[in-house]
Each structure stands twice: as structure tokens, then as C-alpha cells.
């Protein structure tokens, strides 16, 4: 497999200096067989696999440094605090945020968005106001806003998409108005792979006097994100899609906005003083971090950021783009297969349907050949409705995937046809 992969890789003109076979050695989970076949993991948009460096960082925390943070004067507590806070600095550099105060640790993108809707939202959104999202959103960037609308009497407006999966920016322009309070948009669509022109979207929101939140769950693992250049007011992502642990994520917010927002949850660590008469809150970012956090997760996330930075996010993006082109061409050659989502700019996500064959049957037959894909609505039911399909099969790629694995997927799909075609 390695020989084929590198031969094909050279023929494809995959970036030099990006040794996929060596990178794969960093991921213990990839070295296994499923139903007797080498694992081909193509479900990276759901969660990405973890490199040894991340696993080691978590183990080291529990074996050597385990203590609660921001509390004890003892050695272990100082070590764990330093390691946890070091991740904040790493994330700040990774996103090019101005200050560590702007990096709030949360459980993931979902909690980051809920934090904004329930603190900024409840304090600032009133009946008659409008929130704009896109027809591409993951449920995590739909439902929190719907809840806020129910609580406040605000109205949710949706930017439609065209048949390729691109946002209709003219329609967006028309939706913007004096009632718009917030524009909340996914940077990259998890279901279709569309890369949205978020810089332009943010600028248009600001011109209309609204704020902008970007759901970066699918963007951060695959492309350079600069929140300062983007000028987003909020930006959320999940650690586990960035090759880090589950249960840890980040909400970036502009300091002046976060400062003015009420706290999210009450508890330890988020306070300065507590009496039964009056409690004063801690400074940023701790005001939003009540209770003992996922310390091991935070430390693991730091190791993941280091790992990705070491590989080079630009190299990762270039490699994945070549792999996407290779995979797109290969899948399009399969009779009866149709790719759903053909946006002008795409991340390495291939959602597709096959004539007369249900995605769940495709998923089961592929699994039997060791190939892991996602089947279903991808937590984006409105996207499925837009295309009048109940579900798709989705192959989502990461930098450790190879052209040989795409070939295995294609062979797997021919096996699917063999089982189900007349």
C-alpha cells in the first residue's frame, strides 16, 4: 500500500516534503485491521484520530502531573496549571487572537455557540430583532439560535444556498437590515464541504451594524484561521476534530464583548469574591469557566495544536486539496454515483448518493471492507431537505489519508454495486 501510495502521490503532484507514510506512523489507531482489512478511516469530519503526542500528553498528565488547577500552591497544581494555561497561549497564537483573555475553554463548538446565545444573546437580543444563519448549518449552529429566538421573540432568517452548495450572497445582502443583531455562519459545511467566504460575510454583517459568529469546527483542522484578519466577533471550534481529545473546545471572543457579557455558568473559579449578599466575578477568561475544567483535555489540545503546527497547516491544506481532487475525479467515474455539494471552494469532504442504494447499506458494505464513512443526515437535516434526499454517504479526509485509501474506497463502492445492483 505504501509503494502504491507514494507512486500515485508523485504522479498526482502531491506536495513534496509531506511524507504521509511517516505521518501515519504517528497515529496508533490507524495500524489495525477491521473485518480482516486494513482500516481506511474516512470519517474525519465526525472526529479526527489522535497522534501519539496527544495520547502521551494525556497519559503524562494523569501519571505525573495530576492536580486541580488555579488552586493549590503545591508542585503538582502548579505544573498542571502551567500546562493547561500554556494551551491557552498555543491556541491564541494558532488563531492569531490578540490576548489570552479572548480564549475561553468550553466542551466544544456546540457549547461555545450556546455560551454566546445564552449570555450575549439574552442580554442583547430583543423581540423583533433578527439573527441570520445559512441553509448549510450544522444543527449546533441552528438549534441554540432557535432557543434564543423562542426566549426573546427574535426571528431567525436563513441565507439560501444554490444547487452547488454555495451561499447566495445577494440574498444575504437582502436579509441584512437594521433589525439584524447577529450573523452566525459555519466556516466550512460539514455535510457538503463548502468553504464559505467568511471574511466577506463578517464585513457585510459589520456594515449592517450586526455582530458575526463563525462556527469553525470543520475549518480549523484544515486551513489557516486568523481571527484578527477575519475580524469575527466570536469563533468556536472543537478539539476532537483538530486531532485532540473529545470534551474540550474553544470559544474565541473579542475582549470588549466578552467583558460586557454576563457569565454563563456559576461556580468555582469564575468568581473573585463570594458572600451571601454579593458575588463578584473573575476576570476574563475565567469568568466563563466555572468549575473544574477538562484539564487533561486542555493539555491534550495543546499537544494537538503543536502537532498540527509542526506539520504546517498550509502544507496540510495543500495536501488535502490534491487528495480531494483525486477523490472527486475517482468517485465521479463510478456509474450511478452523484456527488452532493460541488461548491467553488471546498474542503476535503465528499458527500454522495448512489442510484437506488441507501446510504446505510453503502455504509455497512464499506465497513465490511474496513472502510469507515459516515452515513445519514450529518446533523444537517435542512441541507438534506434542500436536496430532497434523506441522507448521504460522506467520506471526509484528513492529512493522513492516502490516494491508495481513495482507491480502496472506489473498490469498496464497486463491491456495493455488486451486492445491490440488479
Amino acid at each position: 500500500m505504501s509503494t502504491l501510495s507514494s507512486e500515485v502521490g508523485q504522479a498526482l503532484g502531491l506536495p513534496r516534503g509531506f511524507d504521509v507514510e511517516r505521518i501515519r506512523q504517528d497515529f496508533p489507531v490507524l495500524k489495525q485491521t477491521i473485518h480482516g482489512k486494513p482500516l481506511v478511516y474516512l470519517d474525519n469530519a465526525a472526529t479526527a484520530q489522535k497522534p501519539r503526542a496527544v495520547i502521551d500528553a494525556i497519559v503524562k498528565f494523569y501519571e505525573v502531573d495530576c492536580a486541580n488547577i488555579h488552586r493549590g500552591v503545591h508542585e503538582l497544581s502548579q505544573r498542571s496549571t502551567a500546562a493547561y494555561e500554556e494551551t491557552r497561549s498555543k491556541v491564541r497564537r494558532f488563531l492569531n487572537a490578540r490576548s489570552n483573555h479572548e480564549i475561553i475553554f468550553v466542551r466544544g463548538t456546540t457549547e461555545g455557540i450556546n455560551l454566546v446565545t445564552q449570555t450575549w444573546g439574552r442580554a442583547n437580543v430583543k423581540s423583533g430583532d433578527e439573527i441570520i444563519i445559512a441553509g448549510l448549518e450544522h444543527h449546533s449552529n441552528i438549534v441554540p439560535w432557535q432557543i434564543l429566538c423562542e426566549q426573546t421573540g427574535a426571528r431567525l432568517r436563513i441565507i439560501p444556498i444554490d444547487d452547488r452548495g454555495d451561499l447566495l450572497l445577494d440574498e444575504y445582502e437582502r436579509l441584512l437590515g437594521p433589525r439584524t443583531r447577529m450573523v452566525a455562519i459555519g466556516h466550512v459545511s460539514n455535510a457538503l464541504g463548502t468553504v464559505n467566504p467568511v471574511r466577506r460575510i463578517v464585513r457585510m454583517a459589520h456594515d449592517a451594524g450586526a455582530l458575526a459568529l463563525i462556527d469553525g469546527a470543520q475549518a480549523v483542522p484544515h486551513m489557516q484561521v486568523d481571527v484578527t484578519a477575519l475580524d469575527a466577533d466570536f469563533y468556536a471550534f472543537s478539539g476532537h476534530k483538530l486531532f485532540g481529545p473529545t470534551g474540550i473546545g474553544v470559544l474565541y471572543g473579542k475582549a470588549e464583548l466578552l467583558d460586557a457579557m454576563p457569565p454563563y455558568q456559576g461556580g468555582g473559579d469564575m468568581i473573585r469574591t463570594v458572600t451571601f449578599e454579593k458575588t463578584t466575578y473573575n476576570d476574563l477568561p475565567y469568568k466563563f469557566e466555572a468549575g473544574t475544567p477538562h484539564i487533561a483535555g486542555g493539555i491534550g489540545l495543546g499537544a494537538a495544536v503543536d502537532y498540527v503546527t509542526r506539520l504546517g497547516i498550509d502544507k496540510i491544506a495543500a495536501y488535502e486539496h490534491e487528495l480531494l481532487l483525486y477523490a472527486t475525479e475517482a468517485l465521479e467515474r463510478i456509474p450511478g454515483l452523484r456527488i452532493v455539494g460541488t461548491a467553488r471552494e471546498k474542503a476535503a469532504v465528499l458527500s454522495f448518493v448512489m442510484q437506488g442504494i441507501h446510504p446505510h447499506d453503502i455504509g455497512t458494505v464499506l465497513d465490511h471492507q474496513g472502510i469507515a464513512v459516515r452515513t445519514g443526515h450529518h446533523c444537517a437535516q435542512p441541507v438534506m431537505d434542500r436536496y430532497h434526499i434523506p441522507a448521504t454517504t460522506r467520506a471526509s479526509l484528513a492529512f493522513y489519508n492516502t490516494p491508495a485509501e481513495i482507491d480502496a474506497l472506489v473498490a469498496g463502492l464497486y463491491k456495493v454495486k455488486e451486492v445491490f445492483d440488479e
Partner: protein
Amino acid sequence: MIDDLYQETILDHSKRPRNHHSLTDANRKAEGYNPLCGDKLKLYLKIDGDIVKDASFEGAGCAISTASASLMTESLKGKTREEAMRLIDKFHDLLTTDTPASRDLGKLVVFCGVRDYPARVKCATLAWHTLKSALSGSSETVTTE
């Protein structure tokens, strides 16, 4: 082996589902929904006295759910309400336990392979959840959750 799941009878019924139409003189109807995959199914029954005289279904799903609905509607015809209810339990046991398949299941034993695919059990049971709802006269859409 994948053939243990997709047995010939299942493939046949998924490609050429029997009783796959609406039933104008049905006196019991129910809808089922599997939120996991978005599959929807409409079940029609014509019950005369205590006997299921006719059964049909509409909706498109995966091979397992379509074949299950097709074979279910075939096996229901002529059964009493009581027998149909017992069949639901036996079918459920077939998918979720290791007990030997009941003889009453007839052709339905082809679904025994589903047992090894926990993620697919709900595909096979969607039609049966819907049947239970139709027999008990509930008008709400049942889900497999």
C-alpha cells in the same frame, strides 16, 4: 460475511418490495420514522373482525427496512390481531437475542443476520414499531428511538 446480512430473500424484497402501495380501503394506518437515517414509512392495514385481511406500505428506506416492511406485510395477511402482536415480539427476539428462532417466523428468519449489526437493528424494526402503533390504534408517528 456480508452475505449473511444481505441474504438473497432480503435483496429480492428490497429491490422488488411486495405490497408497496397505499390501501384505499384500509381502516388502520400508522406512520413510522427513524430519526437516525431519516427513513419514513406509512403502513396500511385492513382489519375485518379480528383478522388482518390486507396490509401494505409506502416509503423508501434502506434494503433492510424495505425488505422488512415487505416481508412483514406478506406475513400479516390472515393473522389475528393477537397473532400479529405475538409475531412482533418474536421478530424482536430474533434481532436482539440468541434464542433459537421461532418457527412462526417463517421466511422472516432471513433477518437473523441483523443481530450482528447493532446499528442496523432499528432499520429492521421500523416497520414493526409502526405495526404495533397501527394495531393499538395510536395515530401519532412512532419513531425507532
